[in-house]
């Protein structure tokens, strides 16, 4: 069974540009969570999508947004990129609100 897949693996953007990150959950999982892991720091909760709806968001500015598609895959968009947005962005999927969450390998975003 395929795990959570994220694309691209690496992304380099210039300050002020927009970045789009993608996540495909494990088959049968309807919830997708996005986390930011800055270098040397822990995992900070960004967004939670379930059944196509945004259910909750963490303490991040509105330029961090996303959506979940009918097939439960998800997209994270970061607008007006800033240098401090450079981080590993992790997607996790779970069966609805069920607690066992599995992570993808992440997208390494570098803003220059």
């Amino acid at each position: 069974e395929a795990g959570v897949t994220q694309s691209p693996t690496h992304l380099i953007k210039t300050r002020g540009q927009q970045a789009t990150l993608r996540c495909s959950p494990i088959s049968g999982h309807t919830s997708v969570y996005w986390y930011q892991q800055a270098l040397g720091l822990g995992l900070q909760f960004l967004l939670w999508y379930d059944e196509g709806e945004e259910r909750n968001r963490g303490n991040f500015p509105p330029r961090f947004s996303g959506r979940q598609f009918p097939n439960y895959s998800s997209e994270l968009n970061v607008n007006a990129l800033e240098l401090e947005d450079s981080a590993l962005y992790l997607c996790a999927s779970a069966v609805g609100h069920y607690t066992e969450a599995f992570f993808g390998q992440g997208t390494r975003l570098t803003v220059v």
Binding site: Y35, F103, G106
Partner: protein, 109 residues
Amino acid sequence: QQQVKQSPQSLIVQKGGISIINCAYENTAFDYFPWYQQFPGKGPALLIAIRPDVSEKKEGRFTISFNKSAKQFSLHIMDSQPGDSATYFCAAHDYKLSFGAGTTVTVRA
């Protein structure tokens, strides 16, 4: 505000020794407590998890101890191996997972 406090930040253990990582929380709404293992450049992998109605859970060399009244839980890695060298995160779940800051474990051969 860190909802889950994790210690130590790092630890070094000899091969065959025991690694112990501690976490504490305040939110009594948390209903599930997993531990994740992360290697450099990789996403976190679910290692072991426990629910608050259980005081201990063991899977192979990994054991979680849970103290509901003290709002603390810990991970014990028995017979530590060099392949266990990684960063370990505790987490607690309400509608999302809140993570501790992580513990870097180094196992010396």
